[in-house]
Amino acid sequence: MVENRIVAEAFNVEAFEKLLSKAAGNDKTPVVNQVRYLARYCDRLGARTIVCEEHYIDRHFLDEHALFYSRSLQPPPNHVRRFHVFSREFSDAQLSELLEESASAAGQTSRQICDDLSRAYLGFISIRPLRSVPVGRTILRRLEDGEPRDIWATGTHDVHLANLTLTIDGLAFQQQDRAVGACATAAVWSALSRVSRHEGMRAPTPAEVSQAAGRHVLPNGRIVPAVAGLNVQQLCEAVRSSGFAPEVVRADERPEFFVVALHTYLLSGIPVVLVLLGHDGDHAVTAVGFQSAAAPHPLLQTSVPVRSARMSKIYIHDDRLGPYARSFLHPLPRTDDFDECLLLAIETPRDAHGDELVGNGTPRAEDREEWVLDSAIAPVYPKLRLPARSLITLAELLGDLIEHIVGPENATKLGVEFYFERSGSYLSKLSGRIGLGCAGFLRRVALPRWCGIVKWFLDERPLAEFVYDTTDILRDEHLLGAELLRAVVCLDSRYRGDFQQIASIFPVPST
């Protein structure tokens, strides 16, 4: 008879490593890197208690099982073990009390119990019954990295543990199993899991991603087992098959604009698959967030004062390591021997103590692994047709005008960034930013599902936002973007008259 077993115990990093390995049936061979990373990551998150769920049917592993493992001579079980991690101390007996309290409470009190526990909930790790590749679908909270300038493309997930509903904000991670999926499968799957859920769709499983990637083109041979890997073309096909459009950008041609695009998609909450070139083969990871430095990098600046030039750290899901691994952007100038390029230095677990895996300090140079950034794929909503490229062009069109408004003495203090946002969310976030008298604007403005925003800053403070329709393309710059501009939102009352004057020229609603 199938029976679950839920047990709480105190967290201890070494014991947790062993527990995770044992859960995969691996108590003899060395602990795999990903397990070591996860145990240390949970420690840094402040883990105090682990709740193990012995029998959990994970849809993503079940699909892998159905596609591959169920047809093996000796198939593994079709369920995973889930380990829930909490930053609060409680015993196994206290867990029983919590479950009973929640079961006997009325709706609102029960919700309160879950909300309280969710505040201490750090997420879960699924362990597949696969000894060498145990880490299945895992969602953990992001680690604060000591700076307030972090941006994350993550989403909120409801997690059910017995009768409790917990919430966690994060991006799904899993290790490639080399049977159903390669590193590229894991990277695309992570990105699609965020955008699918954001659009109210069911996230595809790794098996679905693999099958979609190999449906039409097989340049490297068979897809399952996944030992041959996938190419970029196949990743684009997997994105398309999942109901999204693969927006592509290359890093080997004007790296500064590649960084603008990466900044734009992450700021829009869209994880980006990064294609990396290495000495011993190529690799794919998912960019899930970034951190900005105080000053822009000279090699990342463009003709418009892009804030992306300050992007320094990129947080990645790297299936060889774990979730939210830190990496550093290093733009290299053109030389006699090499074209300009972008390096991504990924922190690796080379330190004997593993301290730098998810650390807060600056890691030693030898603990970083350098890759050349080749290209990126962002899965976007299909009707979001206006690319990041056009937002840059539109900012270039407006640049002189904005400089004129703020005056030559302030021109060097200007900054601009780009992002896409669902219009309902955009309008609701205007609350508290545009003040009284905006009812007329809100009644007039008409936006598509996704809008494109060119946001100007003056001296680090928001100045104005130009809001564009994304359901069409920028056909002719001679129309000055008029065919796409839908609203002008002034965020600095000193310049309201100027921005209203601009809006009246196009003419579009303004605040």
């Binding site: 990277a187 290359r250 290209s375 000055l480």
Partner: protein, 62 residues
């Protein structure tokens, strides 16, 4: 009072802060028109950045 009246100008908070640039529709049109060539050139350069080459498309990821 007219727009040129110093009292009128003093009454406007933006002018007090020295922030308003007194944009006219003609100035806006002129500045936008002047930016068109540069924007068009930039857009042409960006085309190559936002399209994968054959080499990019065939990178094999394991």
């Amino acid at each position: 009072m007219t727009d040129d009246d110093p009292k009128t100008k003093k009454a406007q908070p933006a002018a007090e802060h020295g922030a308003s640039s007194a944009l006219t529709p003609e100035t806006i049109q002129r500045l936008l028109r002047e930016s068109v060539v540069g924007a068009h050139e930039l857009d042409e350069k960006l085309k190559r950045v936002f399209e994968l080459s054959q080499a990019n498309a065939l990178v094999r990821l394991k």
